[in-house]
Amino acid sequence: MQYVMYPLGERAVTVRWSAEMNREANQRALALLKHLENEPFTGYVEAVPAYTSLTVYYDPILVYRKTKQSPYTAVCQWLKSRIEALPTVSVPPSRKVEIPVCYDPEFAPDLSFVAAHNGLTEEEVIELHTAPTYHVTMIGFVPGFPYLEGMDERISTPRKHTPRSAVAPGSVGIGGKQTGVYPLEIPGGWQIIGRTPLKLFDPHATPPTFLRAGDQVIFRRIEKMEYDEICKEQKGSPK
């Protein structure tokens, strides 16, 4: 599979296998991440997988000391040889995870906009959102935020022109062709259509996120009463 490489500042390089959503590109990114974690090159710091890319952070000083050339050029060469030596991607077995979501108006300030934008009723938006099995392509943006592939394009809605300065934790949103869940209270530009009572991030857990790249996810519609119950259970449960 073809790929391109380009710098992200002077301490990172992005390897991208596709400019559009592509499952194989995502698997290649996850496979390269795993490989680099097992066999890091000199100066490797960490890597961040995204839909179709892997961004590799490195310490330019350590790379420079070893190669005496442009750290970017050296890292690109190393990555190129690693990528070409990687065997065909094997698909790791994925976990199936259910996320309960309440789509009541108090949790869904943009549900009506998403419906109107796509010429649907709010009920239809909810049905289309809960129908598919989603694939977690990456965790990013903020701690524990899952980027999900598999949303029905009939509910695609552009991001807000000006991001909200605070989105409540657990909010389920749509941004373009993507859907996801906000694990923390943060600013955000996605259209909010519901909320889950689950905690998606815990800094004292290993790993710290509820979802992992590669997981399969289903959204289950719940009523406010069940939402409240799950909230209560989570508060009572030991850490």
Binding site: P7, A50, P60, V142, H161, Q178, L184, F201, P203
Partner: protein, 333 residues
Amino acid sequence: MTLKVIKPGLLTTVQDLGRSGYQQYGVSAGGAMDTFALRAANLLVANEPDAAALEMTLQGPVLELEKDAWIAVCGADMGAKVNEENLPLWRPVFVKAGTRLSFGAARLGCRAYLAVSGGFKVPEVLGGRGTYLRAQFGGFAGRPLMEGDRLETGDSILAPVKMDRDRPYDACRWYVSPHIFPAYGTDPIVRVVKGPEYEWFRPDSREMLLKERYRIRPESDRMGYRLDGPALECDTDAVMLSEAVTAGTIQVPPDGKPVVLMADRQTTGGYARIATVIQVDLPVLAQLKPGDSLEFQLVSREEAERLYIAYEAEMSGLKLGILTKWREMNDAG
């Protein structure tokens, strides 16, 4: 040793040089906004450069030391005082137990750093001791300091000074020379390299980014600086898939107003990235306050790398120089 918070200031947090290895879980790197000042403050008191120190923002705190300690304050000038006397910046200072360190409003710059020899003892969470405000973990209880908080510090390797006078402190005569400071200033030129979507922008937008002045908007914070200035427009219908962003990434939401991502940035983003502030100029940006303005200047990736390597060589020189000074002082008894 304990440091007691009498008044917390506007936003005082424990910070270090940030986390690594957890960005794949969406955990931002975090750490000090002005890494130069934090590293300098730590080095001055013989700490590792990434030890935990206090980051004070715009309006500093009032603190009380409960034991004698070597401290250093670097970064913004907040008119720091030990009891009633002015505290010199950018140098090691020995402070007696029971003295009060008070910081006022930032006169020059935005963020000051207080390092204590031995470092602040806070638990390590996900590989770092810095406060991650959005996610409310790390640092001191995952939050900014509050009145009445008491912070423990580690053991200092530096010998105490015998002070017979009534002075509340004794400062070393040597200091970090301003000629190695980042190009701090209120209307600085901040250098950038092209971002991955640079070519997506209209030629006049690319030109505007580099010609016009941009002003820091009030809603700027540790996560990002929102800028006021000419709106930037893309020249393409291409849709971007979310991808990694880094410290200094300048992303442009559909409203055209650029945002520079800072220490507590998100790990990935979906807005077009027109440019990236070069690493050595991030401390300059970190010292700008809302209302300050700046200009961007484009440099090549090769130039940015050369500057980074030269900067890190200077930091190594600084570390060595400070160690030498401490050895001379020890030898002199």
